[in-house]
Amino acid sequence: MSVLCEETAVTARLLPDDAASGRLRDLAAHQQVFGAPAPAGALTSTAIVAMVEAAGLTGRGGAGFPMARKLKAVAAGGSPVVVANGAEGEPASSKDKVLLSLVPHLVLDGLQLACRAVGATEAYVYVHEGPLVAMMSSIISTRAALGIDPVTPKLVSAPARFISGQESAVVSRLDGGPALPMAVPPPVYLKGVHKSPTLVQNVETLAHLALLVRRGSGWFRSAGTEAEPGTMLCSVTGAVAHKGVVETPVGTSISAVLERAGGVDGDLQAVLVGGYHGAWLPGSAALDLPLSLAGLRPHGATPGAGVVVALSTRTCGLVETARVVDYLAAQSARQCGPCLNGLPAMAETLGRLARRDRTPGLVERVHQLAGLVERRGACHHPDGTVRFVRSALTVFAAEVDRHLAGGCTATDRAAVLPTPRTRGGAS
């Protein structure tokens, strides 16, 4: 996945030009480009929280929760823990991998600030198993050897599964268990890692934190919208000329983001926004929509963790959706009956629709199953899948009718949405 850097400085915040080469992995180069962080004792936790609140920074992991509120909730408890969550389970998303590979020191600076803000003396960096582990391990050791981190984080890896990055799954894994979601109460900001208040923050959010403390909340707000300030990283893939990670102000139109990725390859049929728990938008309507909560919510979508997938008219949206739901069903933690039974049933029914099975009642069955799985599980995996499926049945309604009549408009059978195979069951 390549990094597409913007020429103007206003949006090249997290990923300036220098980053693409990888030279900012070197601490000296990092400090030369971004400036040195404030010394450990210089900022009080109240000061940091105030800056975050003034800046209006929200989580970049998908939920978009205001960071200041989270910081205050965790700081209120005793011996808090902070986790930098880089376990990007979304196959179509690569922004966290890119961020950690190119500007890891920015994330780790942010992690130190978050620790200071909540008064934590225990921190973790949580990533998927793979090449990032060795890289992060050496970067953390380098910083530890130089003594620049008041709290040296422990590096923990988890299997590369869709739900490994879910908040309670992270806590479960850090407590020595499997990376699987836990039953809901109590929330992790009250009782997380070994029952301590835990701040779980996406690595991109921490990178933004590192910069806004250096440059001020006013600077942070100079990009983005009034209600949703700052920039965000988008993983743009699908039918675009240059797939890659784009940094853009929140509220940029989808068409502008697609242009940054080299433009749409072919005629745009639909855009998937927010990942596999996100929603499809019809191509024509999508182009003018801003990538922001305010802009997308009225259309049943959210920016999520910044995934934007373009689907051209030559690909069948129904076939793509069916394949993704099959992947999502396999990614179920299989701890809860409705999800364990309902998602494979949904995948099977959608598969039949995709294969132009003309049995009556297939669409109704999908809707019935959707109603049976939503909100009946320990996590939101079934809910997100249902949102994805319902938006597909709406946006690709014409295609569904064509399939029920035995036809399909697709001319290109190549898979567009990535659905990686992972070995073994939930662990």
Partner: protein, 68 residues
């Protein structure tokens, strides 16, 4: 202060004792798992709800107070 039924979906094994004891609010789905009406429990159903909570073999059902 209202009481509503909540299910711990990880503990729930779909055995169905709750649906037998509180059919007014709980029906089994096609796989045996409880579809729970989330509205607050009226005082007339509260004793049966408590019985259902106590009967669950895996302690998956609970009555939670929702301040409303």
């Amino acid at each position: 202060m209202n009481q509503t039924l909540a299910v711990n979906w990880i503990a729930c094994d779909g055995r169905g004792l709750c649906a037998e004891l509180l059919p007014e609010r709980i029906t089994p789905d096609e796989w045996g798992f409880p579809v729970v009406d989330g509205h607050p429990m009226g005082p007339d159903l509260l004793p049966d709800a408590r019985r259902a909570v106590a009967a669950c073999p895996t302690l998956a059902l609970r009555l939670a107070a929702t301040g409303r």
